[in-house]
């Protein structure tokens, strides 16, 4: 199988995250990392290929420093890496992002067939979870998304997904788009020598023109939304603290809820 795994470079959850004046996510090399649940996608891709033979190609879209996400994927065992970058690709919304990623998959498929596109459930900066579906729509491929358990039977992918109050089992022939959740597997930890090797591994760089996309189809120009306001909220004033050393803590909790009119609303 040949698997393209789409990964994202995002700010660390515990870093001081923010937006710049253009409403774009601030990213620095020190504070950013491979999106955590994308490690599950890389792991799932490696397991698919381990079972069936083939190649894992890690793909990311982002500025120069986003190459770090690819290096992490390479250290985990991805065979190749493709960095989609360039000034014209910057500032894209989910629609423009998915258009570029789908074009990259087509570009890879022109060399040799791509059987599976794998992604994580969500990028933990934007939390949109829509790019996998948009890529599937663009490619016209079936999708298995929000997958907790992924198996393969010949050229058929078998997936179980757990939604709110629902369990679903799906099958799809390849090519297909798959997104996995954080409980789908335990991502392997790269060995030191693989981390070192990934630092100098070759990364293919592609821009909009290489993908056959017009400048006005990508980045901010190819987006259908634009950020009109981005403001940091005032810091939290800190909690009112009640110490339950007199057995009255429960009653005082209830009084607090009553004072805020929060005990009436049941549905």
């Amino acid at each position: 199988m040949r698997v393209a795994v789409l990964v994202k470079h995002v700010p660390e959850l515990l870093s001081d995250r923010g937006l710049d004046d253009a409403g774009r996510t601030l990213r620095t090399a020190d504070d950013s990392t491979l999106n955590e649940v994308d490690e599950n996608a890389v792991e799932a891709a490696l397991q698919l290929v381990a079972d069936t033979g083939g190649e894992v190609v890690a793909v990311t879209l982002g500025p120069a420093i986003a190459v770090d996400a690819l290096r992490r994927a390479l250290a985990m065992g991805a065979h190749r890496a493709v960095h989609l970058t360039g000034p014209e690709l910057a500032g894209g919304d989910v629609v423009a992002t998915a258009r570029v990623l789908a074009a990259a998959v087509r570009h890879l498929a022109a060399e040799a067939p791509v059987d599976v596109v794998l992604t994580g459930l969500a990028a933990l900066d934007g939390l949109g979870s829509v790019v996998p579906s948009l890529v599937a729509a663009d490619l016209g491929w079936p999708q298995l998304t929000v997958v907790e358990e992924l198996g393969v039977d010949g050229d058929v992918l078998v997936a179980r997904r757990e939604l709110d109050g629902v369990t679903e089992r799906w099958r799809a022939t390849t090519p297909a788009v798959v997104s996995v959740i954080d409980t789908a597997n335990e991502p392997r930890l790269p060995r030191m020598k693989d981390l070192m090797a990934a630092r100098s591994a070759e990364v293919t760089t592609l821009g909009a023109e290489d993908l056959g996309l017009a400048p006005d189809a990508v980045g901010a120009a190819g987006s259908r939304t634009r950020v009109v306001r981005a403001e940091r909220r005032p810091p939290h004033p800190g909690p009112e603290i009640v110490t339950d050393d007199d057995g009255e803590g429960g009653r005082r909790l209830a009084e607090f809820l009553v004072s805020r009119d929060l005990v009436g609303g049941t549905r």
Binding site: L14, R17, G18, L19, G23, V94, V95, A122, L124, D125, G126, L127, G128, S129, V130, S133, L134, A137, P142, Q143, T145, E162, L163, D164, G165, V166, T167, R169, W170, R171, A172, T173, A176, D182, T183, T225, R226, V228, R229, A230, E231, R233, P239, E240, I241, V242, T243, D244, D245, G247, G249, G250, L253, E255, F256, L257, R260, L262, V263, G265
Partner: protein, 319 residues
């Protein structure tokens, strides 16, 4: 953009999240409903009270569970009604359908908005990002907009005047993408009288500090009519089912009231609940991260505090 017609999509029963979206739709234009399953009499009554005069039903059977088919139904309905704004209550399934619909309609896509308004002819959606630390607004620049609306961001309200809802069938191509087969779709029975976690106005969540005993959490949830939530490690321990997991990769919630008991507040959990209206932490550790972001923190043993709070709430209700 002029939002003369606003299509609101019900992927399941017409419950509060759908009525919240209808309430929002009325501020933007005339709401029309699309349901992907037959409407019950209770559904049409609720829609009539909410001012929905027209409802389309695309009876797709099991095919509606395929995101591409659900998205095609939404796009077909938007084209049939001339809707320029399409709203879906947020869930993973809704996001999938919204993405496919936006692709087919060449529409701008906003995810998980808490507010929507028309400004200088553009639809502008607002939401909090980065675990509630930033406030953002995005404008849709294309003629058609698709948005998923966060549960509990808007209080569902009846229209000033109830109407009779005319229900008409909508014909939609229900062909699944080639090679895709649904083998099983199993809905889990929900605890009697308890709302769904994703749409509950009140959530009581228990973490590792429960040591696996959720009786006190359940008692307080019962007193408040709340849903029960939990953390990743409690799911891993087998103490609670997977679909009770609150977090960035589980269920993301924003209830009016969130009570976290015995929960330290790891970043993943935190990112899944920080948009909640009022946050209460009950913990033995005053330095727990969840305590720091709470509006009220009660420091002590949750097994004593929660039942006492439940008792006080029941007494308040009866008085």
């Amino acid at each position: 953009m002029t939002a003369a017609t606003v299509l609101v999509v019900a992927l399941g029963e017409v419950r509060s999240p759908v009525l919240e979206s209808v309430t929002l739709a009325r501020t933007l234009g005339t709401p029309v409903l699309l349901s992907l399953q037959p409407l019950s009499e209770a559904d049409t009554h609720a829609l009539g009270r909410a001012g929905v005069a027209r409802a389309l039903v695309a009876d797709l059977g099991e095919a509606r569970h395929a995101p591409a088919v659900a998205g095609r139904a939404v796009a077909t309905a938007a084209e049939a009604t001339g809707a320029t704004v399409v709203l879906l209550p947020t869930s993973f399934v809704a996001k999938e359908a919204a993405a496919h619909a936006a692709f087919l309609l060449d529409a701008g896509l906003l995810v998980d908005v808490a507010t929507l308004r028309l400004e200088s002819g553009e639809l502008v959606g607002g939401k909090r990002v980065f675990a509630g630390t930033w406030e953002t607004e995005c404008a849709v620049t294309s003629p058609v907009a698709v948005a998923t609306v966060r549960a509990n961001a808007i209080v569902a309200a009846d229209a000033p005047e109830a109407v009779t809802t005319a229900v008409e069938p909508l014909s939609v191509d229900a062909t699944l993408p080639r090679g895709l087969v649904l083998d099983e779709h199993e809905e889990h029975p929900r605890a009697e009288g308890r709302p769904a976690l994703a749409e509950a106005a009140v959530v009581v969540a228990g973490g590792r500090g429960t040591e696996g005993d959720f009786a006190a959490v359940e008692e307080l949830a019962d007193a408040l009519g709340a849903a029960i939530g939990t953390t990743r490690d409690c799911v891993d321990e087998g103490w609670q089912p997977h679909d009770a997991q609150i977090g960035q990769t589980g269920v993301t919630i924003a209830p009016r009231l969130y009570i976290g008991a015995g929960i330290s507040g790891a970043p993943h959990h935190h990112g899944g609940m920080q948009a909640s209206g009022t946050i209460v932490a009950v913990n033995v550790d005053p330095d727990a991260p969840l305590v720091q972001i709470a509006d009220l923190a009660v420091i002590g043993d949750l097994q004593e505090i929660l039942p006492a709070a439940a008792q006080a709430i029941r007494e308040h209700r009866e008085s």
